[in-house]
Symmetry: C2
Amino acid sequence: MSNDPTTDPRLRSWVDIAEGSDFPIQNLPYGVFRRPGGTPRMGVAIGGFVFDLAGVAEAGLLDHVAVEQSAFHSSSLNSFIASGRSVWRQLRARVSELLEISCPEIKGAPGLADRSLVPMSEVELLAPIEPGDYVDFYSSLQHATNLGRLFRPDGEPLLPNWRHLPVGYHGRSSSVVASGTPIKRPTGQLKGPDEPPRWGPTERLDIELEVGFITGRANSLGESVPINGAEEHIFGVVLVNDWSARDIQAWEYQPLGPFLGKSFATSIGPWVVTLDALEPFRVAAPAQDPVVLEYLREEQRRGIDIHLEVALATPDMPKAHVISRVNFSEMYWTMAQQLAHATSNGTPVRAGDLYASGTVSGAEAGTFGSLIELTRNGSEPITLASGEQRRFLEDGDTAIVRGFCGGGDRPRIGFGEVRGTVA
Amino acid sequence: MSNDPTTDPRLRSWVDIAEGSDFPIQNLPYGVFRRPGGTPRMGVAIGGFVFDLAGVAEAGLLDHVAVEQSAFHSSSLNSFIASGRSVWRQLRARVSELLEISCPEIKGAPGLADRSLVPMSEVELLAPIEPGDYVDFYSSLQHATNLGRLFRPDGEPLLPNWRHLPVGYHGRSSSVVASGTPIKRPTGQLKGPDEPPRWGPTERLDIELEVGFITGRANSLGESVPINGAEEHIFGVVLVNDWSARDIQAWEYQPLGPFLGKSFATSIGPWVVTLDALEPFRVAAPAQDPVVLEYLREEQRRGIDIHLEVALATPDMPKAHVISRVNFSEMYWTMAQQLAHATSNGTPVRAGDLYASGTVSGAEAGTFGSLIELTRNGSEPITLASGEQRRFLEDGDTAIVRGFCGGGDRPRIGFGEVRGTVA
């Protein structure tokens, strides 16, 4: 993949792209957008613009790419993703070609550039996928250790199965929402020690900084996805904020796991960055001890060097304050392992399914991906730049998750941001 | 509802219906079928026939029912279900009218009866719904107690939250399959006491006898479904066998709940029996102690008097042997409570979602809905009519779940059966 021309750092586009943009021509992430009053269309982010693939297709410029026209007008990327990897690559190569600085096909056609490029600020960015199934893992060693200490203070923080398999569970797909969707504080059963359960709005509304991968159709009922080659079935990667109500979760979660403490909302980023675009940023994943069973054993363990951060803004502090920074490459379980494990029993994976990493946390203070960790279960509030303190989210707070690879003298492959305000 | 003409026991059909059929004219459950080499069509079970709604609609006999023609040709009932309760009732009333003994519209039209009625043995019955989300509850007091004793022998069998809320979790929707789908024995991580985990086919393949309800679109993000009136959003009820690999489940399930031990397959019945058809069989649900919080408190607690049974057939015993009989009316948590709870945090419910009851078990021997209970975790095998013993399912075994209401001098409102053979 190192000679994939679409990631060549020397590539330049005829589109005017600001220094430090998340979306140079080496990125080309996919999303779904809507002009005011318009219908959903498939697009690619380039600089400050959305490149309107539906429009470009109507102009006849995607005729040799094996994508149904209807996919460009779909409310999600699912039908495009169902077309499979060779078609993903065909379209990426063609979009890269059309946006490359020497290509006359769009920039040379009267008015076509203006019709094909919409300023991002003028459109609504929708959730890029409609997941059939949504799986949430728990793959950060540090996060699992931190939460084990908080939820089970008298036991071993890491349960015996954790280093043998990527622990995960099914989340709710109906509440996977676009960045920007207001998050209504959920109500539920809350229970303090030595008091009966009561009903009320959560008092411990939290974020979870996660990274999700999105699959193509990977297998049929009864088949498994082999660990080596599993990434062939991964379309791309998206930022995730898996909102959590810690008090609802703590009371409900035994013995069958999280349910209403999580299912009220999961925000995902507007842009799916393809594995092809991320290829230059693949790094060795941490070594595993003990050695895992063969169905999880990789010829090459590969993580992704994604710089992640969480920021908070408040009604009194509109400029967001970064509360956590962590790198995704620290994850103990890789995407390939997650996919091989999730299908090891033969359950089918569909195009557009979402597999989230679980909260990404590092070892040091300031690298935790949730407030419950940052504030030690609310006992040590954090202080924001405005002087305000936070244990958990308050009404009006906005949580922002951002992520990017590269930067500096390398192309910056950014994910944009996932944003949600507590309503 | 007691004067709903479609459930009048005096109703008779011009279709020849065998004594004891699950499908008299008072039932009219919906399903999706396919003639050999044909495409999916929506149908209604009547006696030993499928009443082909797509064909009847093409003949112009459903013109005054507000259902899109495409719904009759859909691969699932989802789009019909999305049309809402008043349309559900319109169609039911019209189908009842067309099949009623004095109605000439079909029986009097040359050849139309033959074209509209297909012998059930000549068609493939598909899964009637494509669930967006699949939730599995744990609502039988006896089952939760039995499993608590087996999985946590040193603790209280019932966890403290169980009587305060209907415990549940999200299952996998991609592996919800039609009755008759072969069930491949899943592989996974198995771990005995004092030994490291190993990889292999499950040695504890089990069934779970359940009843599921299927929703219409019930609410939008941020709204809840109020407990009183919750059933207005329930389209109907279906039999469920939630296959389980007990050894995979036991090792993986803490702290986030069941995952691969359940996600390999969930078989559902071919026929969705509407709440309207079940209305004559509604009974008082068990009293609850302690009193539940207000969002779960019902003006009238209503269960359904469904006779359920599980039977096993083996290669050496083709005639199925009934291993368990139990009544669904014993469930501690009602469907209305399950739906109100599941949406209490504002998560949306879509048309065609599946909410399963959890295993239905009674208090006495012979009334347990899973082998792990019937055999006390495999320690006390059951003996079949053939003399064979079973602790868990063996290859070639066929599990059959059946259910019906009424019978005797009342119309028998049956669900047909859910069948699956271990491949």
